[in-house]
């Protein structure tokens, strides 16, 4: 049974069908890249899977459980963590506090207004580890808003990891990074993925990054899946060539 299964997901905005009957099955442990030109519906797909936007039609099944129509926080509580295309942080809090709040979300006593010392201590520990993994430990006490763009992107991924998700959804993690920063981010992501049994969906524009990281690739074009398979198969696909890759090379 796949960890995540999208069945005929559709989302339209007025007359525009942003996501059109998308079927996709992601196995546990898989690293799936979702690619496609601008406006292909990648971010919308993320938003409807996580419940940020309601679906017009279709279903999402996560770990055998229907999650369609659940509010975002419930979907996330099931074990899905995501990053945003535009960095979403708590800019006035330190890097460590950012990750700590993320880690706390997985604790059963996360809501405690009193007698919550153990929650804070546990979250602090998870935050330390996540920052270490992102190699941001030395910026622990720095306000997130003061970090460089590249470090902010990594911090957001760190927050997602601190949530200990079963499925990690990364929306263009290398967006806006310089070549050096991208290399560093890819290296960190590779180390992270080599370690665990994380399942990942990755939206990415940078084809180099995609081919370095992904096990399988889904290609979206105008909201529809036009190809689905191993990187080499996708590369060789004529339709993909003309819709997307061809335009770049």
């Amino acid at each position: 049974m796949p960890l995540l299964e999208c069945r005929g997901l559709t989302r339209s905005f007025g007359g525009l069908v942003a996501v059109d009957n998308v079927n996709m099955a992601i196995e546990a442990g898989e690293i799936r890249a979702v690619i496609g030109p601008n406006g292909a519906g990648k971010s919308t797909l993320f938003n409807i899977i996580t419940g940020v936007l309601p679906v017009s039609d279709g279903q999402t099944v996560f770990a055998g459980e229907m999650i369609t129509g659940l509010p975002v926080y419930r979907v996330v509580q099931k074990g899905i963590a995501r990053t945003f295309q535009l960095t979403h942080l708590f800019p006035d809090l330190t890097a460590h506090e950012n990750v700590r709040i993320a880690a706390q979300a997985q604790h059963a006593d996360r809501w405690r207004p009193l007698a919550g010392g153990h929650v804070l201590a546990a979250s602090r520990k998870v935050a330390d580890e996540a920052l270490e993994q992102m190699r941001l430990s030395r910026f622990s006490g720095v306000k997130a808003g003061m970090l460089s763009h590249g470090d902010q992107r990594l911090l957001e991924i760190g927050m997602a990891i601190a949530q200990k998700p079963r499925l990690l959804m990364l929306d263009e993690p290398t967006q806006g990074l310089s070549i050096e920063e991208t290399d560093r981010a890819v290296q960190i992501l590779r180390d992270m993925l080599a370690k665990g049994d994380l399942t990942v969906i990755l939206v990415e524009h940078d084809m180099e990054v995609v081919f370095k990281l992904a096990d399988k690739i889904t290609v979206l074009h105008r909201g529809r899946v036009i190809a689905d398979g191993l990187p080499d198969e996708v590369k060789a696909n004529d339709e993909v060539q003309s819709a997307y890759l061809g335009g770049l090379e």
């Binding site: 996330v76 708590f90 207004p113 470090d151």
Partner: protein, 326 residues
Amino acid sequence: MRERLVIALSAVLLCLVPLVVPNYTLTLIVEALIFGLFAMSLDLMVGYTRLHSFGHAAAYGMGAYSTALILLHFNLPLPIGIILGVAISVVIAIPIAWICTKSTGVSFAMLTLAFAQLGYAMIFRFKDISGGSDGIGGIPRPAGPFGIDFFQSKSGYFYLVVFCLVGSYLLCRAIVTSPFGAVLTGIRENEAKTRALGYNTRAYKMAVVVMAYGFGSLAGALYTPFAGFVAPELFFWLVSGRVLIMVIVGGAGTLIGPILGGICFMLLEQQLSEVTELWPLIFGSIFIAFVMLAPDGIWGLLTKRFRSKQVVPGDGEDGETSRATP
């Protein structure tokens, strides 16, 4: 550490106040402390969650009126009356919080204002119970339980208020530094992100609104038996506006700042109103000056020197990370 010392010291100094000040001044100080507590309660919403309420008078009025009615109609000791008054207010605050948190930003502020004005209107509507525009007078300060009656004297009441203020402060401080408080901070900084991390932000906002109303109604409940009467003005939007100014001038998001703001505001108002009728003009100027020149408020000014400097990330020696421009 230094902060703790300052707080402990000021608590001790506060306890000496009734011994040295004249009777009339003590009245002013008690009212100022009550307003300090009131302002602190609003800080939970404004400073920690960025929920701008323009109707916090509702909390004050509910606490004051429910305590007044209990003390007047039931033969209960004062502390029990106050506790029941707060409890009733908290129960009423739950549906208010439920409705208000359906919206955000300006509409949230307008909804809170609407509820306060609704309370104001209801006082006039139900004259038989509430006394209408005359308010309710002759509210007693019954002794007990266990024969405790120190609060029947003015200086004794002062200690009761100090006890409630310090207790509430410590409780609020525990709340804002708890896991719950961390979520509030998240909501303040970026609510969408907080939700995306798996928090039901609406529930947290509802909870903090109810807590703020609870502490605010405690301030109102303490006011009632002290003044001996309540009037519909307690619900009026001017009260809501004033307490919001106290929070901002005192230093939102610090708890202690709004307490200072509330106390300074009340004492200054008393002094100025004796000298000139133009005191609101002076207040307006002070408010504008603070917003423009010292957005961190009184407490921000006081602690500026002690605050540790923000660590600025330098260039990494190993070149791992490049820059740290804001």
